[in-house]
């Protein structure tokens, strides 16, 4: 047992402690808050590096490196509930990624949130989030995992609603919380079922009885539910539901774009790099369960098929929506949803290593893009509408350069950028998927759209001429449906008077130049950009170090793998796809730059119906509004009716009956029992009073009585006694 595995708990506890200390400090103590948060993250990062190196230096002979530690938490029934943590390659990689990205984003936030009066609260939440996320990563116990997972959900809620005085932010926070709750219900049910089946929630144990180890898996795979499905499949699907909620996969993706109402560092940290990756991480963690199947071979179990299809559909679905968005952060949000779909696709078709590799590379370049967009928003005085930006290349060179790197990485520009290698690996695995070729084509189409929308965004934001200073009124009657607020204003010190705010903004956009952000914001961008490039080389087909690291095999450099089994051809075709996307984007948006902010989009003029569909996100929100929300509202009304008239009526009836009985009792008491006693008492008292007069103590009265009695006696003796 290495020292670091024994003390792995320090990594999440440090930020948690920092958060607790910040929470009890006063609002003006900004320096202390930032120092504590960043200091704890530095320590956590160093410890993570230690953990990583411990895994790295471990000899690979006996398979995957895995060390467990923990303690007995509480006892129920005859057994102890243990809280365990695990150090294995998966944990180590995630630890380093989460703590490093968090650290950079913390530093960035110091600059971004510098003028916010709730600076300390922000860092308190950020630290809480980081601690909980690191807890998710090290958990060897589904319960501990779930606890941390829920804290992560809570901080997500708190941070999306950080500017809670904005109604849109409060609504977005609520939406995020409720939507993820739906998924978490599945996770909870899966957890309970798993416990019922295996009697343990530990993933791994030293004696091989953990719920992800062979004996438990084999038992679960042979048990059947009433519908004939293997129990392991059912549990896997339930747990995947949790991942769907957290990672914004298809039916439950609606919260993630709205979550962009939060401060931009939050979007970068929680809703791009780490928290949403928790769902992918969950699938990777319980992958043995999902891959377990009694009859069919690995990679094609029902659960993995579901994962694959959900991921592939999400990837394309979200990528097409991103094409028609105008909010810089919303474009990135849909991009995130799409990339998370890729990760799920990778997990489904290629196993842990494929999905996790994309998760790691994506975390870096998406954090880079979000922080870059934060820098843009900051530099443009809280402007978020890409149609009103333009020409920022000249004003923000560092931001532009790093953003371009992030954009190329996300698009999957060949050879030099990490996104290319990770996405290529996913497509490669999808190509070889035995069940269906469709996910591969979906992924390829998604890649085309990804390159396209990123080119569109960069062309609109950084190239051309400045389009600020247009009247905000013309924006509101643009393509977007009424519910999407044009350019939400993110200034926390926003003026209460709306018209004053508008006039100031107009004046401001005319008089202020966009400016480059301070070094505290650009340095994290540069560091992230470096990693967005370099990380790709740890997972190329020629040197699949990442894959081998996760599987505990020695990594070998084999250049010939590049050419074998169609790898080269696939790389070429994906390169062609990327170039097509980039070229199309540049042809449509880069060559003919828009001159003013309110002219219609190129696609809008060409295909107004399609564009309208995409700009309104396939009307998913509206569909939910019309079905789920309406159903809920109806159910709520129904329950209200039941409560008010049926159950309420029963309660009132019971109350009335009781009241009537009470009246009856009171009447009986007052007029029967009490009256009887009262009368009895009065009679007795009167009698007593009458008798007591004979004992008045007047001797003369006594004498008088004696005299009268004597006379009576004499009369009686003389006349009365005779018969």
């Amino acid at each position: 047992m290495t020292w670091i595995a024994q003390n792995l708990w320090l990594i999440p506890v440090l930020p948690l402690a920092a958060s607790a200390v910040i929470a009890v400090n006063k609002q003006p103590q900004r320096k202390l808050a930032a120092t504590l948060a960043i200091g704890s993250m530095v320590l956590a990062f160093l410890l993570s590096l230690g953990a990583f190196s411990a895994v790295l230096l471990h000899p690979n002979e006996n398979g995957v490196f895995r060390e467990l530690a923990g303690f007995n938490w509480l006892q129920f029934g005859g057994q102890w509930l243990r809280l365990d943590w695990v150090l294995d390659p998966l944990t180590a990689v995630m630890l380093v990624m989460v703590s490093f990205v968090s650290l950079l984003i913390f530093i960035f936030s110091v600059g971004y949130m510098a003028h916010d009066e709730n600076f300390t609260r922000f860092f308190c939440f950020l630290s809480l989030f980081a601690g909980a996320m690191l807890g998710v990563v090290i958990a060897n116990n589904l319960l501990l995992f779930f606890i941390c997972w829920e804290i992560v959900g809570l901080t997500s809620y708190l941070l999306i609603g950080f500017w809670y005085h904005k109604p849109s932010a409060a609504a977005a926070a609520k939406k995020a919380f409720i939507t993820t709750r739906i998924g978490d219900l599945g996770l909870l049910l899966g957890m309970v079922w798993l416990y019922a089946e295996t009697g343990t929630l530990n993933f791994y144990t030293t004696d091989g009885t953990g719920c992800l180890e062979q004996t438990a898996l084999a038992t679960m795979a042979t048990h059947l539910t009433t519908t004939g499905m293997a129990v392991s499949t059912a549990i896997g699907l339930l747990i995947f539901l949790g991942a769907v909620g957290k990672s914004g996969q298809l039916p439950l993706h609606v919260w993630l774009p709205d979550a962009m109402e939060g401060p931009t560092p939050v979007s970068a940290l929680i809703h791009a790099a780490t928290m949403v990756a928790a769902g992918v991480f969950l699938v990777a963690r319980v992958f043995p369960l999902m891959a377990q199947s009694p009859s069919i071979g690995p990679h094609t179990t029902t659960v993995l098929q579901v994962v694959t299809w959900v991921g592939a559909l999400t990837a394309v679905f979200a990528a097409t929506i991103a094409v028609a968005q105008t909010d810089i952060k919303r474009i990135l949000a849909y991009s995130t949803v799409s990339q998370l779909g890729y990760m799920m696709l990778g997990l489904g078709v290629g196993g842990v290593a494929v999905g996790m590799f994309h998760l790691i590379t994506h975390a870096f370049f998406k954090a880079l893009l979000f922080l870059g967009s934060g820098s843009v928003i900051h530099g443009c005085h809280e402007e978020q509408d890409v149609r009103k930006m333009g020409g920022l290349k000249k004003f923000m060179p560092v931001t532009f350069a790093t953003y371009a790197i992030g954009m190329l990485a996300l698009s999957g520009f060949p050879l030099f950028f990490s996104g290319f290698w990770s996405k290529d690996e996913i497509l490669h695995a999808a190509r070889g998927w035995p069940v269906s070729p469709v996910p591969f084509y979906l992924g390829a189409i998604g890649a085309l759209f990804t390159a396209f929308y990123m080119t569109r965004q960069v062309a609109l934001v950084f190239f051309g001429q400045r389009r600020t200073g247009v009247s905000p009124v013309s924006i509101s009657n643009s393509v977007q449906a009424g519910h999407e607020k044009a350019s939400p204003h993110h200034d926390p010190h926003s003026f209460s008077d709306e018209s004053q705010q508008e006039s100031l903004r107009q004046a401001g956009s005319l008089s202020y130049e966009p400016h480059e952000s301070p070094a505290v914001m650009t340095v994290p961008l540069i560091i992230l950009a470096v990693f967005a490039v370099l990380l790709g080389f740890i997972g190329t087909p020629a040197w699949p170090w990442f894959d081998s690291f996760l599987n505990g095999e020695p990594a070998g450099f084999d250049f010939s793998k590049l050419t074998e089994s169609g790898t080269l051809g696939l790389m070429l075709s994906s390169a062609v796809i990327v170039f097509a996307g980039l070229g199309l984007g540049w042809w449509l948006y880069g060559k003919r730059l828009r001159k003013t902010a309110d002219e219609p989009d190129v696609l809008q003029t060409a295909q107004p119906a399609v564009f309208r569909l995409l700009a309104n996100k396939y009307f998913v929100d509206e569909i939910y509004e019309a079905t789920v929300v309406r159903f809920n509202a109806w159910a709520a009304y129904f329950c209200d009716f039941l409560d008010r008239w049926i159950w309420g009526g029963v309660v009132v009836l019971v109350a009335k009956i009781t009241l009537g009985l009470a009246w009856l009792y009171r009447f009986t008491d007052d007029f029967v029992v009490n009256l009887g006693f009262d009368t009895g008492c009065e009679t007795l008292r009167d009698g007593g009073g009458g008798i007591s007069k004979w004992h008045a103590g007047r001797v003369q009265t006594y004498l008088r009585v004696i005299g009268v009695a004597l006379v009576v006696l004499i009369f009686f003796l003389i006349w009365g006694g005779k018969p």
């Binding site: 008045a696 103590g697 007047r698 001797v699 003369q700 004498l703 008088r704 005299g707």
Partner: protein
């Protein structure tokens, strides 16, 4: 009317006056006077029945009356002493206000 009847009538009258005095007088001393009157009416009866009875030569009635007068004297002394003690205690000799034997 025989002399005996006259004596008994006087005696009865005297008794009635004494009783009325003892019952109606507020003052304890006057009540005591009433009691003395009743006692003396009884003495008068003794004398009358002895004088006009079958053996006037035996001095039995006289003897009883002398005893009775002596006892009455002692009784009056005790009664007066009691009244003085009560008066000292209650600061009054009004029988209506003296209702209890405990202080």
């Amino acid at each position: 009317m025989t002399p005996l009847q006259g004596c008994l009538l006087v005696s009865a009258l005297l008794f009635a006056i004494g009783l009325a005095g003892a019952v109606t007088r507020r003052n304890a001393i006057l009540a005591l006077v009433g009691i003395e009157l009743m006692l003396n009416s009884a003495n008068l009866n003794f004398i009358a029945f002895w004088r006009y009875g079958p053996h006037p030569e035996a001095l039995t009635g006289m003897m009883v009356v002398i005893f009775s007068v002596a006892i009455a004297a002692a009784e009056a002394a005790v009664g007066l002493a009691l009244i003085i003690a009560i008066y000292r205690h209650y600061k009054t000799a009004n029988l209506d206000e003296i209702r209890s034997l405990k202080g």
